[in-house]
Symmetry: C2
Subunit: 82 residues, 2 copies
């Protein structure tokens, strides 16, 4: 099974990397870009895991390892069941 | 309009960060995780842009600014048209 986890700052947390990208794009003339938020994506290959097991396992991994729950949130989805 | 751009290493390029996450998860007992690939995600707010303009603008920004086309690939999608 292939799953994708997206980790990004909570909306209330400042995102200096995203702000830097926004500024760079404005400098280059891309004025239509009002705001950029940057995050991380993790694509995991899981083996021998049912959909039900994944629904417990993936949030646990995201919460314990991939995201800092104080300042970050995560979303996840199944890309391929196989 | 809200668009999401995913930037990740090409499949042929080693991903040491993803390998480190894989190793950490194995150490913690998550043996079902066979492989992890890490990438970046950029959520952009665009203003005054039609869907057709976005289809030219977003790949241009991804190619010129957000991804290194030598070693990285990108995907993008429209999250919200508004």
């Amino acid at each position: 099974m292939k799953v994708r986890i997206l980790v990004s700052f909570k909306d209330s947390v400042l995102d200096p990397q995203g702000q830097t990208v926004t500024n760079a794009l404005h400098t280059m003339g891309y004025d239509a870009v009002m705001n950029v938020r940057q995050g991380k994506v993790f694509d995991l290959d899981l083996e021998g895991v049912t959909r039900k097991e994944a629904e417990a396992l993936v949030p646990e991994i995201a919460h314990r390892v991939l995201a800092n729950p104080i300042i970050e949130k995560f979303d996840w989805e199944i890309l391929k069941v196989r």
